[in-house]
C-alpha cells in the first residue's frame, strides 16, 4: 500500500547488527488512523524494524519519512519528540520505579502538568487495574499488568504513532484478550498503530493492512482480512 500523505512512509530501509544484515530494502507505509500489522516467523526481523523506526538502532540505508520529515539516523529521543512512541519487546518498564513514576516517565515530554494529569486520567480509565497499583514498584506487577503499564506509558506521550512490539507475548489467555480489546479500543478512537505480533490471527483481524516479513523482506502484503483468507498465510502463520 503506497499512499500519498501516509503518516509514516518507509523506503528502502536497511537495518542490522554488526556484520549481519537483518532487514533489507523494506518499504512500508502507515496511513493516519490505521492499524498496520507486521507478522512473520521468529527471526524475520519484526522487532528490528520497530527498533530501527524508533531510533534504537541506526538505519544503514533508506528513509523513514514521518509527516514528510526523514527521521532515519536521528537519535531515539528526537524521534520520540517527533511523536512516535514505542512500547518495546519485553515491555522494558522501569521495574525499580513505581507505577506512577513509570507513567510520569511516559509523559517526560508533556508540555504541562495539567496535560500530564489529563493523560494520566485517560490511561487509568483505560487500564483500571493500574490505578490500584500506583504506589507499587512496577517490577512487582504480573506480566499482564506490566504489559498494560508498557502500553499506558507509551500512551502518556500522546503519540501520533504508536509502535507496539509483541504486546501479547508470554501472557495468560485472559490478559491476551484484554490487551487485544485495548488495541481495538485504540483503533476505534482513531489512533495510528504499527503492531508487531506473533498472534497473527488476532492481529490480522484488527489490522487495516498487514505486511508479512520473511528473512528481512516483505513477502506478502494486503488488507488484514484478505490475508486471513489466504491459504499460504493460514499454513505458515495461523497454525494450519
Amino acid at each position: 500500500m503506497s499512499m500519498n500523505g501516509a503518516l509514516l512512509e518507509v523506503r528502502g530501509l536497511e537495518l542490522g547488527y554488526g556484520r549481519s544484515t537483518v532487514v533489507e530494502g523494506l518499504d512500508l507505509s502507515v496511513p493516519e488512523g490505521a492499524i498496520v500489522c507486521l507478522i512473520g516467523a521468529n527471526g524475520a526481523g519484526k522487532t528490528t524494524v520497530l527498533r530501527g523506526l524508533s531510533g534504537l538502532i541506526r538505519a544503514r540505508r533508506g528513509a523513514v519519512l514521518f509527516e514528510r520529515t526523514d527521521l532515519a539516523n536521528k537519535p531515539a529521543h528526537r524521534i520520540a519528540r517527533a511523536g512516535i512512541a514505542h512500547a518495546p519487546e519485553g515491555r522494558q518498564i522501569f521495574g525499580e520505579m513505581t507505577v506512577s513514576e513509570n507513567l510520569a516517565m511516559g509523559a517526560y515530554l508533556s508540555p504541562s502538568k495539567a496535560e500530564t494529569a489529563r493523560r494520566r486520567e485517560g490511561a487509568l480509565a483505560r487500564f483500571p487495574r493500574l490505578a490500584e497499583r500506583m504506589r507499587q514498584r512496577a517490577g512487582l506487577l504480573s506480566g499482564g499488568e506490566q504489559q498494560m503499564l508498557a502500553i499506558a506509558r507509551a500512551l502518556m506521550a500522546d503519540p501520533k504513532l504508536l509502535l507496539l512490539d509483541e504486546p501479547s507475548m508470554g501472557l495468560a489467555p485472559l490478559f491476551v484478550d484484554e490487551i487485544f480489546r485495548a488495541i481495538a479500543a485504540l483503533k476505534a478512537e482513531g489512533r495510528t498503530i504499527l503492531l508487531v505480533e506473533q498472534n497473527a490471527h488476532a492481529a490480522l483481524e484488527l489490522a487495516d493492512y498487514a505486511y508479512v516479513l520473511e528473512t528481512g523482506k516483505v513477502s506478502i502484503e494486503g488488507p488484514g482480512r484478505e490475508l486471513l483468507a489466504r491459504p499460504e498465510i493460514a499454513d505458515a502463520y495461523l497454525g494450519g
Binding site: H77, F94, E96, M105
Partner: protein
C-alpha cells in the same frame, strides 16, 4: 571519651558519606566503574587551597572548588568514556581506561604542584568550638557536617522530586527505554558527571579541612574506601551510601581511640569482608536489585 570519639567519627563519616554519594551516583546511573572519581576529590581540595591562598573565604572557596571539580568530571567523562559507551564495551574496559587515566592525572598533578602535604592558610576557619555538655565540636566540624547534610538533602530531593532526577533514575535502570521516553541520555549523563564530580570535590575540601592535609594522592586511598562504603551500602543505593559512610567514620574513630590508629584504615574493609560473607547485596541492598 566515647561520646567525643563518636562525634569525631560522625564528622569524618559525613564527609565519607558525601564522597560515597557521588561515587554511587556515578556508578549507579552511568553504569561504569570510573576510577577517576578519586581525582575529583583531590582536585576539589587543591582548588579550595588555591582559592583560599588567594584570599577567598571558605564560603566562596568551597562551592567554587566543587563546581570546578564537577566541570573537570564532565570533561574527563567525555574524553575517556564516550567511545566505550558507544561501542557498549565491557565494564573491564572502562575500569582499565580510567585506571590508566587516574595514574597519569595523579602523576601530572604531583609534577605540577609538588607531592608534599599542604595545609589551608591559618585563619581560614574560625578557631572556636562549641561545648555540648562534656563534648566539644569545632566550627570546622560544624561546617563539614552542615555541608554534607545540605548537599545530601539536595541530592535526595533532586532524585526524588524533579523531572531530571526521575530521568536519572530511569537512565540508571534502562538507557534504551529512557531514550524512548524522550530523555536525551547524553545530556543527563553530563549532569550526573557534573553532580558526582562536584560531590567528590566538596568531600575533598571537607576532608582536607578536617585533617588539614592535602596531597595529590589523597584521592587514591579515598577511592578504595569509597568503593568499600558503596558496596556496604548496596550499590547504587543512596540512603545506603549515606548510612555506610557514617558507620565507617564512627568505626574508624572508635578503632583509633580504643585499639590503635594503625588499624583505623583497615576497619572499613574488615567490615566489608564480614558483611559480604553474610549479605552479598550489602547492608542496605535488596537481594537481586541492581542499581539506583
Amino acid at each position: 571519651m566515647l561520646g567525643q570519639q563518636i562525634i569525631n567519627g560522625l564528622v569524618a563519616g559525613s564527609a565519607y558519606a558525601l564522597f560515597a554519594l557521588g561515587l554511587t551516583l556515578m556508578f549507579g546511573v552511568l553504569g561504569v566503574v570510573n576510577l577517576t572519581y578519586g581525582f575529583y576529590f583531590a582536585v576539589g581540595a587543591y582548588l579550595a587551597l588555591l582559592a583560599a591562598g588567594a584570599g577567598a573565604p571558605i564560603a566562596l572557596a568551597l562551592p567554587l572548588a566543587a563546581i570546578l571539580a564537577g566541570l573537570v568530571a564532565v570533561v574527563l567523562d567525555f574524553l575517556l568514556l564516550t567511545r566505550l559507551r558507544r561501542t557498549r564495551a565491557p565494564e573491564l574496559a572502562s575500569l582499565m581506561v580510567t585506571l590508566g587515566a587516574t595514574l597519569f592525572l595523579y602523576s601530572a598533578m604531583s609534577a605540577l604542584l609538588g607531592s608534599e602535604i599542604r595545609r589551608f592558610p591559618a585563619g581560614l576557619l574560625d578557631n572556636g568550638a562549641f561545648a555540648l555538655g562534656a563534648y566539644r565540636i569545632s566550627v570546622g566540624q560544624i561546617l563539614i557536617v552542615g555541608t554534607a547534610v545540605l548537599l545530601s538533602l539536595g541530592l535526595v530531593s533532586l532524585m526524588g522530586a524533579t523531572r531530571t532526577g526521575l530521568a536519572m533514575r530511569a537512565l540508571a535502570e534502562n538507557s534504551d527505554a529512557s531514550e524512548l521516553m524522550g530523555v536525551d541520555t547524553q545530556a543527563i549523563m553530563r549532569r550526573v558527571s557534573f553532580l558526582s564530580g562536584a560531590l567528590g570535590g566538596a568531600a575533598g575540601v571537607l576532608i582536607g579541612l578536617e585533617y588539614n592535609a592535602i596531597a595529590p594522592y589523597m584521592g587514591e586511598a579515598m577511592t578504595l574506601k569509597g568503593f568499600a562504603i558503596i558496596i556496604l551500602g548496596g550499590l547504587g543505593n543512596i540512603g545506603g551510601a549515606l548510612a555506610a559512610g557514617l558507620l565507617v567514620g564512627v568505626l574508624e574513630a572508635l578503632t583509633a581511640g580504643y585499639v590503635s590508629s594503625v588499624y583505623k584504615e583497615a576497619v572499613g574493609f574488615l567490615l566489608l569482608v564480614l558483611t559480604l560473607w553474610v549479605r552479598p547485596q550489602g547492608l542496605f541492598g535488596r537481594p537481586g536489585a541492581r542499581r539506583a
